[in-house]
């Protein structure tokens, strides 16, 4: 029997993976994938909570939210990829550690 705690542990680990990706990877496209992982962790959490709230019942609202959220995640990554293409044109690199114009 997989309990709520197992699911929660799974989504939290997924979340940590996403942040790990954001914190260590240099390639901008990988960063976008990291963001996708973060969004998916949140989505799975939604579904998990909707099925575990009252035994024997499912909350349909969470499902609709997740469907919208998936579509939005696609959008976000599309926009992010556009920005990546622009950044590549502008700086000639995909390495985020080389974009240091905000350095104090």
């Amino acid at each position: 029997m997989i309990s709520l705690s197992h699911y929660l542990a799974f989504t939290l680990i997924l979340y940590v993976t996403g942040i790990y990706c954001l914190a260590t990877k240099r390639n901008m496209i990988r960063l976008i994938l990291g963001i996708e992982i973060l969004i998916n962790a949140a989505n799975i959490n939604f579904i998990v909570f909707s099925t575990n709230w009252k035994t024997g019942f499912v909350d349909p609202f969470a499902h609709s939210i997740v469907i919208i959220s998936t579509a939005l995640a696609g959008c976000v990554s599309a926009v992010a990829l556009t920005i990546v293409v622009y950044a590549y044109r502008h700086y000639g690199t995909l390495d985020v550690r080389k974009l240091k114009r905000l350095k104090g």
């Binding site: 680990i13 709230w53 909350d59 499902h63 609709s64 599309a78």
Partner: protein, 96 residues
């Protein structure tokens, strides 16, 4: 081969955090359900969930429409942005 310091630190911290999270998840029961608002739209799992959820979404299609409008708008903007020729690039080509 030199080790990337950020990579190493990130790995250590992520393992630590994952462990801490697992500990948290198994040690303490999730207690926020008591704050959940009661909802009459709950679907009994003995009934066909897919159809019920679709029905629910169809009844509230306005939310979905907003999201879709956003998707369309952003997709259009992103496509325009990515397909537009860089002005500086164009100048460079013209001058060449």
């Amino acid at each position: 081969m030199s080790v990337d310091k950020i990579e190493a630190a990130g790995l250590v911290i992520s393992v630590l955090t994952a462990a801490a999270f697992c500990f948290l998840a198994f040690q303490h029961a999730f207690s926020a359900f008591q704050h959940a608002v009661s909802n009459e739209n709950l679907v009994d799992i003995t009934r066909p969930i897919g159809r019920e959820v679709s029905w629910f979404m169809w009844n509230r299609r306005s939310i979905d429409l907003i999201a879709q409008a956003f998707v369309l708008f952003v997709a259009a903007t992103a496509c325009l942005a990515i397909l537009r020729r860089d002005t500086r690039e164009a100048e460079r080509e013209e001058s060449a």
